[in-house]
Amino acid sequence: MKILVCISKTPDTTAKIAFKNGNTQFEDNGVQWIINPYDEWYALVRAIELKEKDASVVLHLVTVGGADAEPIIRKALALGGDEAIRVNTTKLQDSFYVASQIAEVAKNGGYDLIFTGKETIDYNGSSIGGMVAELLDLPYISLATKFEINGTTATVTREIEGGEEVNEVTLPVVVSCQKGVAEARIPNMRGIMSARTKPLKAVEPVEVEELTSISSFELPPPKAGVKMISPDNIAELVRLLHEEAKVI
């Protein structure tokens, strides 16, 4: 079985969010970059677990990004995986463009299973997995909280409004992963050492038309400030929530 895990690079969860160049670009000065948590903790770790259970599993990672994505993909390789492919482009603003690059890699790789994260914590799209699935004409199960495989059948629990649903599907399939699918891991020394020698291939992007563009960014208006209420006057809090905030 061949698995492909989509890995993206995102700012650290504590990064200060600011913009530059007339609010058209993210201010990346001093920002620490990490593997998107959903990709690392859930998608990648689950794929590694599947490989640990069945040594014949071949695990590839793909990232679409410039040379600055190399440390991220190396870190992912240190967690596990056989080799990585980087599609060399810095055009990352349009999800369809990025998804088309991943689909191209997938078409040439003959994968039985493609994992993505639930969403990137910077763009919050939740869209690339579905795009890849459509471009490959494969089923797509999103927001998975459990993933099991038996022969060529995948059993996937996915989140639905107010609950969960268990789906069965025959491979190949694209699945987006979230909490529940696996538990985060820390790379060990052996992994870090062996990652240095694992193949990391850079390929050039295919030509694709971008469908969207980001015209500007903005920060939310600052909060007016907190109104403190005495713990001895909870009736006042309820009155304010009712009469001033009008939320109860």
Binding site: I128, M131, P139, L143, K179, P231, I234
Partner: protein, 319 residues
């Protein structure tokens, strides 16, 4: 024409469907065109009554096969509906269904799509829609540069506007593929308000000390008709189910009221709740970072404050 998917589950429209319809009707009004709804599968509600949210027509693909959700099958049907109705804008809810199909539809129709949209399109120069980015810490204005446009509307981002009116309902005949997915089980939390649909949420953190103390959180939630949530360590420790975990790596919510009890307000927690309209923080530490993001704050012990608050809410409701 603006086509809106009125998403349903078990034959009932979701609350997010009414938000999407109200939003779509506004989009149509802005550009001087009509708004129409698309309903898939069998429903137990009066479909014509969707007219009160501003749609003039409802296209219903009543095929039973659509009672099972398969993103691939849904995508083909919706794309065919967009083409046969010649819709120029498609509106979906960015709920679990929307997240499964918005990307697929964009790829299938080669149509620009904006996920997690929070504003009406600005058409002064092109077609620009504001969306959430950086997990609620900022917004991006996304320009949709194709003829057909898809908007996946974030939850609680648009008010439900109900008026008078009935829509004209017609059956839409589009082919429905056989699903490759078999649904073998469905587990719904019954009797509780789903977190993502809730207008009020009461959330507990490590300050509650243990799962045995959750009764006071639940009591407050019941008194407010609120859903329950928790911080990540609480879910990780197994005190509460995973689906209640909110934050950067959990669920992102935007209710009208978020009550945080015994939660410190770490940046990753805030990322999931900072779009709540009103935030109430109860923490015994006056230096807790959450107070900076709050609208109302009480410095005090949750074990004292929560029961008092529940009592006062009940008094108000009883009045």
């Amino acid at each position: 024409m603006v086509l809106i998917l009125a998403d349903q589950t078990d034959g009932h429209f979701k609350k997010t469907a009414f938000e999407a319809l109200s939003y779509g009707a506004k989009v149509a009004e802005q550009s001087g065109t009509s708004a129409e709804a698309l309903v898939l599968g069998s429903v137990n509600e009066d479909v014509a009554s969707l007219g009160k949210y501003g749609v003039t027509k409802v296209h219903h693909v009543s095929n039973d096969a659509l009672n099972i959700f398969d993103a691939q099958v849904y995508t083909k049907v919706i794309a065919a509906a967009v083409q046969s109705t010649e819709a120029k804008v498609l509106v979906l809810s960015h709920n679990n269904t929307g997240r499964a199909i918005a990307g697929r539809l964009s790829a299938r129709l080669k149509a620009a799509m904006v996920p997690a949209a929070v504003g009406l399109p600005d058409t002064a120069d092109g077609f620009v829609v504001k969306k959430v980015v950086f997990s609620g810490k900022a917004f991006a204005n996304v320009s949709l540069n194709t003829d057909i446009k898809i908007i996946s509307l974030n939850m609680n981002a648009h008010k439900i506007l109900a008026g008078e009116g009935t829509a004209q309902v017609s059956e839409l005949n589009v082919p429905v593929d056989v699903s490759k997915i078999k649904v073998t089980a469905t587990n719904k939390v019954t009797g509780e308000i789903p977190l993502t649909e809730a207008t009020r949420v009461v959330s507990g953190g490590r300050g509650l000390k243990g799962p045995e103390n959750w009764k006071i959180v639940e009591d407050l939630a019941h008194s407010l008709d609120a859903a329950l949530a928790c911080s990540r360590p609480v879910a990780d420790a197994g005190w509460r189910p995973h689906h209640e975990h909110v934050g950067q790596t959990g669920i992102a919510i935007a209710p009208n009221l978020y009550v945080a009890a015994g939660i410190s307000g770490a940046i990753q927690h805030l990322a999931g709740v900072n779009r709540s309209k009103v935030i109430v923080v109860i923490n015994k530490d006056s230096e807790a970072p959450f107070f900076k993001a709050a609208d109302y704050g009480v410095v005090g012990d949750v074990f004292e404050i929560l029961p008092k608050l529940t009592e006062e809410v009940k008094k108000l409701k009883g009045a």
